[in-house]
């Protein structure tokens, strides 16, 4: 949609600007809810709306007390601690196993490739509530329900499709003559992998890892069922908080998480560009 030509009729002008207004409204709809909660989290009162003081930009009406509550309340701290331990562990499992499998899948002759791919992608396809129900039944049979290990394994399974998808996508552009060249010069398979293949697919691996991390970090349905109160994560605590006694501390947590997701978004975007540059694919 290039700029409006000078000979455009009135109708075209109205449509041109009208269309932009419509798009602006949709963008507003997308972003406004997330932006609105940021100032609300600095509310000095326990309200969920802008107080007259806040609208008048009175400094008295703003405070950090909800943040203080987040950092001092033992429930929230416990949840934060669980979140930052469970998500990295799940990510390590997903990335380790996922990268290996993606390399295997990218070979030219893989028997039952479609079937294997379907099984590996299935945690992303099956609705979370069904995964959660199945895991709850099965993990309680084998004694994993209500344990850290159970939650970590469940989250690792949920993160794997993302690793598979991103890493196989990077491997599509991988030039296999490079590994042959390395072998030709006397490098063993392990050395070839770490010195030649790994640096080239690293951006894909890291972005897959970020997806796996965010999947686990954000996940609430499975942890609600597979975990118990001692494995509660931040989303768990937020969910319970929203369902029972809604406290403004949730908004402070939400704001922190928004800042966190901005950082992640930036990281993924930078990685994507780097990957495209390394592989010689010009960015779109």
């Amino acid at each position: 949609m290039s700029a409006l030509p000078t000979y455009a009729s009135t109708g075209q002008k109205i449509w041109y600007y009208g269309f932009r207004v419509i798009c602006g409204l949709v963008f507003f709809f997308l972003i406004a809810p997330i932006i609105t909660i940021i100032p609300l989290s600095f509310n000095a009162e326990n309200f969920f709306t802008f107080t007259p003081g806040m609208l008048a930009l009175d400094p008295e009406a703003y405070s950090l007390k909800h943040y203080q509550d987040f950092f001092t309340n033992s429930d929230w701290q416990q949840a934060l601690k669980n979140s930052v331990t469970i998500a990295p562990m799940a990510t390590i499992i997903s990335v380790g196993l996922g990268t290996l499998a993606a390399i295997g899948l990218s070979q030219s002759h893989v028997p039952f490739r479609r079937a294997i791919m379907a099984i590996l992608i299935s945690p992303m396809i099956v609705p979370l509530i069904i995964s959660a129900a199945g895991m709850y039944f099965f993990y309680s049979r084998v004694g994993l329900q209500g344990t850290y290990l159970g939650v970590v394994l469940a989250h690792a399974a949920l993160g794997i499709p993302f690793v598979i998808i991103t890493v196989t996508a990077t491997l599509v552009g991988f030039d296999h003559s490079l590994t042959r060249a390395a072998a030709n010069m006397g490098a063993g398979p392990v050395r070839t992998f770490f010195k030649v293949q790994m640096p080239l697919i690293l951006p894909g691996v890291i972005s897959g890892g970020l997806f796996a991390f965010i999947t686990s970090f954000d996940e609430v349905v499975v942890v609600l069922f597979v975990g118990s109160a001692s494995q509660k994560t931040l989303p768990w605590q937020m969910f319970i908080g929203l369902r029972e006694q809604i406290s403004p501390t949730i908004l402070a947590v939400a704001t922190i998480l928004v800042v966190f997701s901005i950082a992640l978004l930036t990281a993924v975007e930078l990685l994507r560009r780097r990957s495209e540059r390394i592989r010689g694919v010009s960015p779109r």
Binding site: T36, I129, I130, P235
Partner: protein, 521 residues
């Protein structure tokens, strides 16, 4: 000359065979290497993910609890028909007595009671009451009379011998053999020594019933003599009706409905849960429609579908213009605007749901603004949350990026020259768009719609938090049955139906878009 040519042919044939063989070997090695790399993950997923799903599918039909807890009753009920309209015979009550005695000692009867209570209300309390009373039945008179006849009957050793003798020939005293089996199962679970544990009333009751019914009895050994003596005496025994004992606890035991339910759910596998999921029920008379006021699941499935479709359509309506704008703006603008789509996509689901919960409240920001603008009056604040409106607004917002991103990637591939060509051939803006651009963007709409629809029908968190009672989905009902009503079988059946629906949709998605073409970020 011809000789040389022949040998050359032979050599080359052999050579090609060798080559083929070594190529095959290399190919096999390559396949093995690929599989070795995939195997750890495949095993991991099979154990941590596929096994739970299979377990859930299995649970949706599994029903072993009835025949495990009441094995003798289930067997005895074979001869009884619900359609006869009569209460089962004394033999069935006796079987129930042995089963319930063992189950009550092991505290298994309450679980069975709650299981059967899903089918016929009242069974739970009936089982609990009967379980409490079953070891105080008046059947102790049999124990008294047998020991009065011969004190050896009161010795645990007698019954150990009896059990050994009956192992070889259970038909000699069938009910006694069966009661002994239950008694020994109980002792084994409780880790009691059969050599010291005083025999329970059920053993004497079973022996009495066997002898008075004229069971063949044992042939040799001390026990044969003892039973022969007892057989002479039982005719003079004071008797007690087990059926009256049960009726004494609760006269619902006379109700054929209770027995019909036990019989209907006796098989190890049942379609009862699936029937429940579609508002039918398995009654003693067969498959029947649920009463009008209990038909909730079909309505819930339909509501889930309708609301998912509504969300999908709102995503198309809101997403199409945005994707069009992004695909047609110069790179430097579209990259900036793309952030506005990607930020919500990357923001925690809980954050977005809490935002809507805060915004949509009765005293929330949206209502405040509407009141401030005098669009609604102070008393007429809109009910935007805890209903379907809340669910649709919040979920449209949450799923919109999943519509915009596939649409955008399809629209990017449409060359702008086509539109220009159409216009230069005299088409109006609208005709050029509708006849040239839109048909090419349809695959994007298809991909985005199926993706949004699949994600929507399995949603749990958002409907739970902003949907109230009218805006919930089938997944909320599944969660309810897992954590509150504890009817796991029904939850599994509902989940299986949802799973099949989603897999069918994914199959369609694979046909249209291809799973391999899923792009992230």
């Amino acid at each position: 000359m011809s000789d040389i040519a022949e040998s050359d042919d032979r050599i080359s044939a052999e050579g090609s065979r060798d080559l083929k063989r070594s190529l095959n070997r290399a190919l096999r090695a390559q396949k093995m290497r690929a599989l070795m790399l995939i195997a750890p993950l495949l095993i991991f997923i099979l154990v941590t993910f596929i096994a739970p799903i299979v377990d859930m599918l299995f649970r949706s039909v599994e029903n072993e609890i009835v025949s495990d807890t009441l094995p003798r009753t289930v067997l005895a009920l074979d001869d009884w028909e619900y359609t006869s309209g009569e209460t089962p015979s004394e033999a069935v009550f006796a079987a129930l007595y042995y089963d319930l005695f063992v189950a009550a000692e092991l505290k298994e009867h309450t679980r069975l009671g709650s299981r059967l209570n899903y089918e016929t209300t009242g069974i739970s309390s009936l089982f609990r009451k009967s379980g409490r009373r079953v070891d105080r039945f008046d059947t102790d008179i049999y124990a008294d009379q047998f020991t009065a006849l011969d004190p050896a009957w009161g010795e645990p050793a007698t019954w150990t011998m009896m059990s050994e003798a009956l192992d070889d020939d259970p038909d000699a005293l069938p009910e006694t053999a069966s009661a002994l089996e239950g008694w020994h199962h109980l002792l084994k679970v409780e880790r009691d020594d059969p050599a010291t544990e005083a025999p329970a009333d059920i053993l004497f009751t079973a022996l009495y019933r066997d002898l008075s019914a004229g069971a063949p009895g044992l042939n040799d050994g001390d026990l044969a003599a003892m039973t022969a003596t007892a057989r002479q005496a039982v005719d003079g025994f004071e008797t007690v009706s087990i059926r009256d004992q049960f009726v004494d606890v609760d006269d619902s035991w006379l109700d054929p409905e209770i027995w019909g339910t036990i019989k209907a759910y006796a098989p190890k596998y049942t379609i009862g849960y699936f029937l429940k999921s579609v508002d039918y029920q398995l009654t003693p008379e067969g498959i029947e429609k649920q009463p009008e006021d209990q038909q909730i699941y079909i309505r819930l499935f339909v509501r889930t579908l309708v609301m998912s479709l509504t969300i999908m359509v709102s995503c198309i309506v809101l997403g199409y213009p945005v994707a069009f704008l992004l695909a047609n703006l110069p790179m430097r603008y579209s990259n900036v605007l793309m952030i506005l789509v990607l930020l919500p996509f990357w923001t925690s689901l809980l954050v977005r749901t809490s935002a809507w919960k805060v915004l949509l409240q009765n005293q929330g920001v949206i209502n405040d603004i509407l009141v401030w603008l005098h669009i609604v009056s102070e008393s007429g604040r809109l009910a935007l949350i805890n209903n379907q409106t809340g669910t649709i607004i919040a979920m449209t917002h949450i799923l919109l990026p999943f519509m915009i991103l596939p649409l955008y990637s399809v629209m990017q591939t449409i060359p702008p020259t086509y539109m220009r060509a159409a216009k230069s051939l005299g088409a109006t803006d609208w005709t050029a768009f509708w006849r040239v651009y839109f048909p090419q963007s349809v695959p994007g709409i298809g991909a985005g719609s199926i993706l949004v629809f699949i994600l929507a029908i399995g949603y749990y968190i958002t409907p739970e938090l902003v949907g109230g009672t009218s805006g919930i989905f089938i997944s909320n009902r599944i969660a309810y049955h897992i954590s509150s009503s504890l009817n796991w079988g029904l939850a599994a059946a509902l989940g299986s139906i949802l799973l099949v629906a989603v897999l069918m949709l994914y199959w369609a998605y694979d046909r249209i878009v291809g799973i391999d073409n899923v792009k992230l970020g």
